[in-house]
């Protein structure tokens, strides 16, 4: 009986976290569309999603504490719940970062940006792909998919460095563009941090599935039984 309660609790937790992850994907899509299509309604949509995320954030944490208290899970089940607590936090921060992007997108509606934004669009695609993949790894409980995400971060960081360098060149050419370009830099920084959180989630999935703590390691790992 107890075991059946734990199973249904874990599957409920999993589906709540997937809802949360779905919101993150949606928010990121809207935030990207907001600057790409210069759309104020898309900015508003990000704010509306954030409210739903904040509610789900609290619900997921409460569900985790309840499962730990009432079901006293062991081994893989316990690791799964601990990972959910961390993943929940990462997802919530990711949405905060999309809100930052939405806020910076205002400038694209109001001003002409003195820079081609192809790199920013590609960076955004790359980060959204990371988010989709990490979600896939979570749904399938798949360590191998999660491991592949750990290395995608380098590509995102390279985009950011290039975008910042290009912005600086333009700023030096004409000081009138400085305000607008600072917003471009900020968007790229926020995208980079969303990528960092996707990497954190991948590490948590690996821990949940295998008991291996791969954080801060280059190859090696610490096992928690």
């Amino acid at each position: 009986m107890n075991h059946r309660h734990l199973d249904s609790g874990l599957s409920d937790l999993s589906s709540r976290l997937l809802t949360m992850a779905g919101y993150v994907e949606q928010a990121l899509e809207c935030a990207t569309a907001s600057w790409k299509t210069k759309s104020r309604p898309k900015i508003e949509e990000v704010f509306a999603i954030e409210e739903r995320v904040n509610r789900t954030h609290i619900e997921v944490d409460a569900a985790c504490v309840k499962l730990l208290a009432l079901q006293q899970p062991m081994a893989a089940d316990l690791r799964f719940i601990v990972s959910c607590i961390k993943i929940n936090n990462d997802l919530e921060r990711m949405v905060d970062l999309t809100v930052n992007i939405a806020n910076h997108s205002d400038v694209f509606i109001l001003e002409t940006i003195p820079l081609q934004l192809g790199d920013l669009a590609q960076m955004s695609d790359e980060v959204r792909a990371m988010v989709r993949e990490v979600l896939d790894a979570f749904v399938k409980n798949d360590e191998n998919i999660a491991r592949k995400i750990l290395h995608r971060d380098d590509k995102v960081d390279a985009y950011k460095r290039k975008i910042v360098a290009d912005c600086v060149v333009e700023m030096k050419k004409d000081s009138k563009g400085i305000d607008a370009l600072l917003n471009v830099i900020s968007i790229s920084r926020n995208l980079e941090r969303i990528g960092d959180h996707a990497t954190n989630i991948a590490e948590d999935i690996i821990f949940s599935v295998s008991g291996l703590d791969v954080r801060h390691s280059s190859g090696g790992a610490v096992r928690t039984k």
Copy 2:
């Protein structure tokens, strides 16, 4: 017997987390000194502290999972452990941010910054005070001290806005200072984020002590029993 094991486990966990928090304070002090005194050894010190933090980060998490598995804690003890998992993550990210500050401090050694840095110094003092206070709230398990921290964030945000605005004015005056000033902006952003994490920790302490989830609320709170 079991109860005695739990108590000693909790006190061990608490002291490990305090060690971790001590590192954060130390790293922030070194990072601030690195740009204030143009000191490369201080930059190196931050990197050395980060390595110790990374090890402690993994140890604290492993200790939390072990306590949950072997002692099956309830109520306040359970909330304390769940809070420690989150606080541990926040502390680790705070040190990552001090590493960013240390990296940006290089420019202070190499170049003259075309801006008085009094505001950045005051912002840094304010953030360090937040970190010390949140540590105090944790040691004393004191909800009231934690609640006071929730509002200090506004002051930090105001400093950041002023520093960014001043940097933009200088950038427009003379494009030669742009690279250096972008580093000043980055340092202020990293300080702001350290303040955000201190706020997160304060919220976790309130949850641990009272069972109240005050995140995303303005006054109200959700109770988890």
